[in-house]
Point group: C2
Chain length 350, copies 2
């Protein structure tokens, strides 16, 4: 698939001939990130289990257009207490008939029960939701390079620099279990954390002691009240602006929007405090929220896949995002923050 690789001016309006030529040049010298993704072999893509997809149907827009938002839930070892609650809430059809209650420009769109704080009027939560401690905002990586990030709380962790990798040791001092930590593009200099990487398809930050998912555009998090409350998962939000990374480790992240993000980001902004809508009429009603594998439908549901972040294609893609050399660009940046390297997700190719 060839696409025009320059992004600005009236690119789409140029004569098709010039477009093809530009794309040809790009393909032979420095492909654009989108071209690298398009050329990735099938083996570099990982299917997403429909059991890990949350499908939210919003009320149709003013012109009657349906609006479906598909969210991929975060895998272990991150945030599984909240993710478990979200599965229970979806199974109980908790969100059906609730609404998007808040849209704050350059920040978040948030949905849940408009009466959630009013105990007399709040919709009853399903039984069996767990209260998750704040310690679950982070995990301790046991082995971050090519291996499994496991929650090994309480282990001692030692840090030693070793070239472009960093040695991370878990276990006791006498019996260390050391692994090399992949610092990828932002090694040591990342503003918020020290280190960022992509792990099994997700943007992860680490200070080499703990690791946590990052608040990038489209990520989904759990609304909460003041500490020590961590939220149940009944109230969720997605990021619609510049990455609010100051929320990392302060709120649970439980997934990301992989389709229909434009329905969340283009909603009218609320004019109340913090972007809450002042009237019920302004809210966007939620028709239903279901786990994809539990949906009642006669139609086959779309399947999705993401570009394996441990693949050669992803490494090439990330490098190209950090150093754009396709024809539109004259100065490669030399780096990219973790949220400017979004993990490619697409409908599964059959």
């Amino acid at each position: 698939m060839k696409k025009p690789s320059f992004l600005f001016a009236a690119a789409a309006l140029l004569a098709p001939v010039s477009l093809s030529l530009a794309a040809e040049d790009a393909a032979t010298s420095y492909p654009a990130p989108s071209e690298i993704v398009a050329a990735a072999p099938a083996s570099d893509w990982t299917a997403i289990d429909p059991n890990d997809l949350l499908v939210m149907e919003l009320a149709p827009d003013a012109k009657g257009k349906t609006r479906r938002v598909v969210i991929q839930l975060m895998p272990a070892p991150f945030s599984q207490g909240w993710v478990g609650n979200i599965r229970k809430l979806a199974a109980a059809k908790f969100w059906d008939g609730l609404a998007i209650v808040r849209v704050q420009d350059n920040y978040v769109s948030q949905w849940g029960d408009p009466d959630g704080e009013d105990t007399a009027k709040a919709k009853k939560l399903p039984d069996g939701l767990v209260s998750v401690p704040e310690s679950e905002y982070e995990i301790i990586p046991k082995n971050a390079l090519g291996g499994e990030i496991a929650a090994t709380r309480g282990a001692t962790v030692e840090i030693a620099e070793a070239g472009e990798y960093t040695e991370v040791c878990a276990g006791s001092e006498r019996s260390p279990n050391c692994t090399r930590y992949k610092t990828e593009l932002n090694g040591g200099g990342e503003t918020y954390a020290g280190y960022t990487t992509h792990y099994q398809g997700w943007p992860i930050a680490s200070n080499l002691v703990t690791a946590w998912p990052t608040h990038c555009y489209g990520m989904v998090g759990v609304g909460r009240n003041l500490s020590p409350d961590t939220g149940t998962g009944a109230e969720l939000y997605t990021v619609i602006g510049h990455a609010p990374r100051h929320l990392d480790r302060n709120i649970a992240l439980v997934g990301r929007v992989i389709e229909g993000m434009e329905y969340m980001s283009s909603l009218p902004r609320g004019t109340g405090d913090l972007g809450f809508y002042k009237t019920a009429e302004e809210r966007t009603p939620i028709l239903s929220v279901r786990i994809a594998s539990e949906m009642e439908s006669d139609k086959p549901q779309p399947r999705y896949e993401f570009l394996n972040t441990e693949s050669a294609s992803f490494a090439k893609y990330a490098e190209a995002r950090a150093n754009r050399r396709d024809p539109f660009f004259i100065k490669p940046a030399g780096g990219a923050d973790i949220c400017n390297i979004p993990v490619p997700v697409r409908r599964k190719q059959r």
Copy 2:
């Protein structure tokens, strides 16, 4: 002014008593960034000259609501060739009757002449527009710490580390003219540039050799075709998603939206390539674009002011953005990228 300082959950719906208590705590211990801004003395605010404001009136929305977008033009020494063109385009009423032609999710909203690439149908540009060279994407800072950033191209620049500042020397080796460069929060570790700072109200990046404005949310840039074209300023865009910092030094930045940003960011996304609208009906018409001081109006126009980025209040605000300790937060981030410290701008207090 006290505001609830926690941002998530149904904060606005909590009982007023809890809100006041939380705000009290914040005020006596760690104020939120918004509280620091609200408490800044009048002397820390700088008025914006109406001659530096571009006022764009969009067609009313579906409910008949007027939509005004106010843009502050970038001051010298940055991008003045394009800014001069934009003044001429506004004086010639060039944009009146044109449209928003492209909205790409998590990227940009772009406006100009839908027929701009079709020489037979394109609207005639006013006389006197200049062609600006690519070298103008950057300037060479002569003195970046508390002094004036001046364009002194061709000077040799030497770099030496000195504690939390960096010594930057212009001039010849035998006769150096050294100044200490304020590295602010992101000294040395900034992913894209090495260094970032705020200079006279604007977000600026530097590699200690050159300096340039950064592509943050709401910044306004100049659409262009392939290099060496740099655009005239007739086609503009604003950033509506995560900061696309890879565009820095590749495109001219000429200002930022200071009011009405929500009208640009909440537009329906285009479904054509790169978010261009496929049909004329999808576009949002532009009624007029004027320099504020040249507007014909019987009504007094709003005035604006920004928080002086060299003031003590701004330093306190930036520190608080990087280290949130107000009651909602449990872990201060320890840093913030330049685009996560937006410069406060408000209607002028009378």
